[in-house]
Symmetry: C2
C-alpha cells in the first residue's frame, strides 16, 4: 500500500461555542502537542494550526520554536520530530494552498463533526478516496466544533464517531486519534 497523503488542520476560527455562536477559540498548548504526535504516528505530513489572531499565531510559533529549535528540541528528539510537522496559518484556504503547492494537486477537504446529518461521508468512502493517492486535508474544530460556514465550504463532512451509546462529547484530540486509526485501517481483527 502506498503511504496515504494525509494532512491535518486544527481550526480555531470559525468554530462555535456551547451556545452555537461563532467564535475564535484560544489555542491550547496540549492540543498542538497531541495533534502533532498523533499525526506523526499515522504519517500525516503536516498539521496546520489555523487561527487568524496574530497573538495566537505568535504563541504557537514560540511553542513550535521551543520544541524544534530551542531547549526542547535537544532534550526530546521524539517530540521535535512531531512538532516539525506543525505549520501556522491564518485560515483554511492558506492550508489548502500549502498542501496544493506540496502535492501539485488540491487536497480533498474533509471536515469532521460530532453532529449527525443526512449526507455524511463514510469512513469506507474516505478510505477508498485516499487509498487511490488523493491528498486529503482532515479538518478538526476546537471549542464545540466547526461552524456551519466552514462545514458548508468543504468537499465532504465525515460521519461522526459513535461509541457505545448516545454520549458524543469526545475531545478533539481523541477524535483525531480515532479517525486516523480507522483511516489507517491497520487494526487487527
Amino acid at each position: 500500500m502506498s503511504p496515504l497523503k494525509i494532512y491535518l488542520a486544527l481550526v480555531h476560527f470559525p468554530v462555535v461555542n456551547r451556545e452555537g455562536e461563532t467564535i475564535a477559540s484560544a489555542v491550547t498548548n496540549l492540543d498542538i502537542h497531541d495533534l502533532a504526535r498523533i499525526g506523526c504516528t499515522y504519517g500525516a505530513h503536516r498539521c496546520y494550526i489555523v487561527t487568524p489572531l496574530a497573538d495566537q499565531q505568535n504563541l504557537v510559533g514560540q511553542i513550535v520554536d521551543h520544541w524544534t529549535r530551542g531547549f526542547g528540541a535537544a532534550r526530546n528528539p521524539d517530540r521535535r520530530q512531531a512538532m516539525e510537522t506543525l505549520r501556522i496559518v491564518a485560515d483554511l484556504d492558506e492550508a489548502i494552498a500549502a498542501v496544493t503547492a506540496r502535492e501539485g494537486r488540491r487536497p480533498l477537504r474533509i471536515a469532521t463533526s460530532a453532529r449527525q446529518d443526512d449526507r455524511r461521508l463514510t469512513m469506507v468512502e474516505l478510505r477508498e478516496a485516499v487509498a487511490g493517492g488523493r491528498p486529503c486535508l482532515l479538518v478538526f474544530g476546537t471549542a464545540s466544533g466547526l461552524a456551519d460556514a466552514l462545514l458548508d465550504d468543504v468537499d465532504a463532512v465525515l460521519e461522526p464517531i459513535r461509541g457505545a451509546g448516545d454520549y458524543n462529547h469526545l475531545p478533539v484530540r481523541a477524535a483525531a486519534a480515532i479517525i486516523l486509526d480507522r483511516l489507517a485501517g491497520t487494526r487487527a481483527g
Copy 2:
C-alpha cells in the same frame, strides 16, 4: 451484543520517566477530563485515577467535585456525566477490589504499553475475552509508561498501537481513545 464491562485505570505510580526510572507522576487536569469523556463515549463504567500521593488525590477530588457537584456540574451536564465515572484510588489493587465488588467477579487486568514484547495479548484476543462478559480493567500509564513491576503483575499486556511507521509516542489520551475504539469494534469497513 451485551454491553462490555470495561473499566479504566490511569496510573501515576509506578510509572517510568524518560530515563526509565520509576517515579510518581503529577496528575494532569486534562488527562482526567479526557479519560472520563473517552470512557463515557465507549461505555466504560468507571475511570480510576491511581495515585498514592495525598495532595494529588485531593487535587483530583477538587476537580471531580467542581464538575459533578459544583459550578461546572450546572454549567456543563455533559461533562458532569463523564466526570461522575471518576474514582480516586491509592493503587491498582484498590481499583481491582472496587471492580470486583461491583461485578461480583475479579476483572481481567490488562496493561497497555508502547513497547513491543514477545508475549502480548492481541486486540482480537482481548475482544473475545470481554465479549464473553468478563469484566476488564484496562490499565494506562502516564509519563513514559507503566513500570515493569506493574507490567509483571497483570493478567496480560495488550499489543502496542502501531501507526504508519516507527513513531510510537502517542499521548496516553490518544492511546486510550484508539484502544477503546478498536475494542468496541463498531467501525465501518
